[in-house]
């Protein structure tokens, strides 16, 4: 019970007569990295917003640990041009709200910036930053709160492969240094798998959940992402032995009735090194390109 940082039980949420979340339950344990995947419109963002307390679920229970401090990194942030704001001002803002008037020392701010290799941005204006810099600043800002749980919304969106790799390394580093749990939203399948303890596959309901290797073989998962997997599944898991289809996956009635339709496609035997990943993706892109242009 107390081992979970945050528990959400039987969350239902609908908007304008459309069911967005149906009976969703998730648990976040200490120092766990969880990735929430699912197609567009699967309710990922709504779930996150409910966990953050920005939206109210129609029914269900959210149970955070006492005094749970959550750091949140939105996908992007637009700061009005008319607002003069340096990175330093932005970083100390939430801390001042949280910890009262005795604001953070400069050392804290510098340390947080250094950790993310953006020390040089200390006095830069927020509006002049690049997308990648903004995200690092947002991450630094979240870390300054000393959160027990870090929630990242689509952290890899709009990044190139190198950027994504650096990001996932950073995420591992954050867990080790800050001893916090991390919940990420993503619809990038490729690199997610490598950096995650638990994957939750969401499509209005929780389709399946478990270790990345298990989930990637789950029929519901394959049904959702089958076509995307064709080109990319080769490095998502090992498959050199016989498998129980469901593995450790928590079964839902829906899943039991699924077909294991794309099964053969995901049989591969090794995890390639980084360069191979790049090659694979480039290759796929080229193929698509050729397809598009005949």
């Amino acid at each position: 019970m107390s081992t979970f940082l945050l528990q959400a039980e039987h969350i239902n949420f609908s908007r304008k007569g459309k069911t967005i979340l149906h009976d969703v339950s998730i648990q976040i344990a200490e120092q766990e990295i969880i990735t929430l995947i699912g197609p567009n419109g699967a309710g990922k963002t709504s779930l996150i917003r409910i966990l953050l307390g920005l939206l109210k679920a129609d029914s269900g229970r959210i149970q955070p640990q006492k005094k749970l401090r959550i750091g949140y990194v939105p996908q992007k942030i637009v700061i009005p041009q008319v607002m003069p704001l340096r990175v330093y001002d932005f970083l100390t803002l939430s801390a001042r709200v949280l910890f009262g008037s005795n604001k953070l020392s400069d050392e804290h701010v510098h340390a947080a910036l250094k950790e993310l290799d953006i020390d040089y941005l200390y006095a830069a204006a927020m509006q002049g930053l690049s997308g990648g810099e903004v995200q690092r600043v947002l991450l630094a800002r979240a870390l300054l709160k000393q959160p027990k749980l870090l929630i990242l919304d689509e952290p890899a969106a709009g990044m190139d492969v190198i950027g994504q790799q650096t990001l996932y390394k950073t995420i591992q580093m954050i867990r080790q240094q800050h001893h916090c749990s991390i919940l990420m939203v993503s619809h990038d399948l490729h690199l997610v798998m490598a950096a995650t303890d638990k994957v939750i596959c969401l499509n209005t309901h929780v389709c399946c959940t478990g270790h990345p290797d298990d989930v990637s073989e789950h029929p519901e998962y394959i049904k959702l992402f089958g076509s995307a997997l064709d080109g990319l599944a080769l490095y998502s898991h090992h498959h050199d032995h016989e498998h129980d289809i469901h593995g450790n996956v928590i079964e839902s009635e829906h899943c039991l009735s699924c077909e294991y339709n794309n099964g053969e496609k995901i049989v591969h035997s090794h995890r390639p090194v980084n360069s191979e990943i790049k090659t694979a993706i480039v290759h796929q892109h080229q193929q698509q390109h050729e397809d598009d242009h005949g």
Binding site: L52, G53, V82, P84, L85, L93, K145
Partner: protein, 264 residues
Amino acid sequence: MDEFVVTALLAGIALALVAAPLGCVVVWRRMAYFGDTLAHAALLGVALSIAMQMLPIIGVTLIGITLASLLYLLEQQRDLSTDTLLGILSHTALAIGLVVVSVLQANGQVINLMAYLFGDILAIDKTELWWMYAGVVLILAVYYRLWSSLVSISVNEELARIDGVKVDRDKFIFMLLLAMVIAVAINVVGILLVTALLIIPAASARLFVHSPQQMVFISIVFAIVAVTGGLFSSLQWDIPAGPSIVVMASLLFFASRLLRISRD
């Protein structure tokens, strides 16, 4: 210097001290039109205060609350945009205010409408000045307490909420402060020109600053310069004080724009 000039100057400075800091938040949060609406409605507040024999500041604040609540309710319907709704509320309130004033006048009340519309800074007496400064101290004290959350909300409401800022409560308190500033400003520049003193100094300051705090301080300096310059040119050339204060503020604004052009 004549005593009435000193009183007028102190009254102008009182307004500058509160209008500029609140104006910064108004500019950050794109609330200029809301400020304008609040100001227009203030005439109704004043008229009701006269009719019910209470302090103008109370009537103005009450009308401000009513207006903000009405706006909030209308916004829930979502088929009309906020600026349309504000345009409607603003002029409705002004029209009702003018009607109530004329009814009061017809019933024998002596109301100098022009003084409310355009201000009458030279007519401010000592007692009023004391009230104004009491208001200034209160407004600035609350503003100081709210500073962090006001900046957070201006930067990003969602992040502010997650950080535990009481966003709705603080936005409401800010609206009350704004209504109080307008009550303070009525005597100085009048309700038709209040918004100018809120947003022009803040907008002029933007070019010279790098942080929210700097913007507040520089805009106060600009506002004081505008008030002082406007008041003395009004005495010098015998022109109305309220408008000349606003003209002075605008001159500073356009000077800052020219500077920006020459910098680029």
